[in-house]
Symmetry: C2
Subunit: 254 residues, 2 copies
């Protein structure tokens, strides 16, 4: 398949590498910033462009992997193409594409990407949706080439998944950062807490989290909870988070 | 070393196995519940007792690994022993022991334990503290036998570490559980989100969390934040957590 990739961010970069490794032909990378387009295009031997008017019109698939609020504008430039146009957003409706282009779909990888860290795409859940069964067949085939976990989800379910991902990924990472803040203020290094973070995530690979909750809140250990709150007196924001999450854990005991 | 272990919970169980594997001689397991004592004692060929008066008085080391608020009472039963008495609590002061027994210490493994899941003790940070240098030497030697990461921390730093652990372990696990709640209410399985959880933790093994934060809050993507909040209208508790943590992430942008 001849593919044009519109975007050069984390998702676009990892997706481009995985598609290339699966033998797909990525012919063009578009980014409004030509340097960014060239950087990614260089990695996969594609052409780099920064003008929407230069987009090839004869590709089989267009993957829009850019900020949610820019998808609509970029899709306008693809209103005449015969190829399938998809976006990679967890929260954006398929209609934003299907109202403009002939054939539309969604190709959403549920993962957290950083450019600096390689991820094995085959273990990343890929959520697909399409404007009709023919397009879905195309996306299903492509998705199965690069991932072992392909889910066909409508827009509502995909949005739920994206919301759940904020709780399962973005918020835990921020709590790691707050833990590091507490450690640093007391001359302790983040290194000491890494094995605990690894084990906490590893535990829920084979258990449900509600069955392996530990800590003072789930023990209703008020003495420790109060000690911790008093240690956070100088950090009211963290104290508020501690209280909010501990209360939420205690609610599960009822 | 002849060791008496007082306790039969998760920490006691994992510690007993690690010490046994390192060639230590655990002679007795105490638990107020004899069945629990027998269960653990059976695994490591020790004697099980449920009466504090039956504790052997001639062991080299007594490890108290029980609920924080019961440590003081159990320590009273050890006030005449010549051996070293330690507890495994992150939040309890060493004084609760040193005020009662001749030789006191702390032996705190920083990890989350479930009885059903094996952990490799050698990768668990062990935090030690003692009433004097001679006792510290004993604990250092023992700790190095079972772990590659031994830290000598005073009580204040240990308490800070325990607080940080709540943010790095207990709270993230609860957020996994809330993610699962959102998924289940919409007919989606926790399985779909496991790769994301694994990668989120794996990322901070080689990065600091504040450098790899992703998601709508760190992008100041108000449109997605508002969509997510409106999806949580029927779950005010989760809505409050979403708002609180997103605000905290946004504070890091200033």
């Amino acid at each position: 398949m001849k593919i044009v990739l519109l975007g050069s961010g984390n998702v676009a970069t990892h997706l481009a590498k995985a598609l290339k490794a699966a033998g797909e032909d990525i012919v063009q990378i578009y980014s409004p910033n030509l340097d960014n387009a060239k950087l990614l295009a260089g990695l996969i031997a594609a052409e780099a462009v920064n003008d929407l008017n230069d987009i090839k019109q004869n590709a089989d698939l267009y993957i829009i992997s850019i900020k949610d609020d820019a998808i609509e504008t970029v899709a306008q430039a693809l209103k005449d193409v015969a190829g399938l146009v998809v976006h990679t957003s967890g929260t954006t409706d398929i209609n934003i594409l299907s109202s403009q282009v002939k054939r539309a779909g969604v190709f959403y990888p549920l993962q957290t990407f950083s450019k600096s860290k390689t991820v094995s795409f085959e273990n990343i859940p890929l959520c697909i949706e399409a404007s009709d069964e023919a397009q879905l067949t195309i996306l299903r085939k492509l998705a199965n080439k690069i991932s072992h976990q392909v889910y066909e989800l409508d827009g509502e379910k995909r949005k739920v998944l994206h919301l759940a991902a904020v709780f399962a990924c973005n918020f835990p990472n921020h709590l790691y950062a707050l833990a590091n803040k507490i450690l640093n203020q007391n001359g302790l290094d983040f290194e000491i807490i890494r094995p605990l973070i690894a084990e906490t995530a590893d535990k829920v690979m084979s258990n449900l989290p509600e069955n392996v909750q530990t800590g003072p809140a789930v023990r209703a250990d008020e003495s420790t909870l109060n000690k911790h709150l008093s240690m956070l007196t100088d950090m009211p924001e963290l104290q508020n988070i501690y209280q909010t999450l501990s209360n939420s854990i205690k609610l599960t005991l009822k």
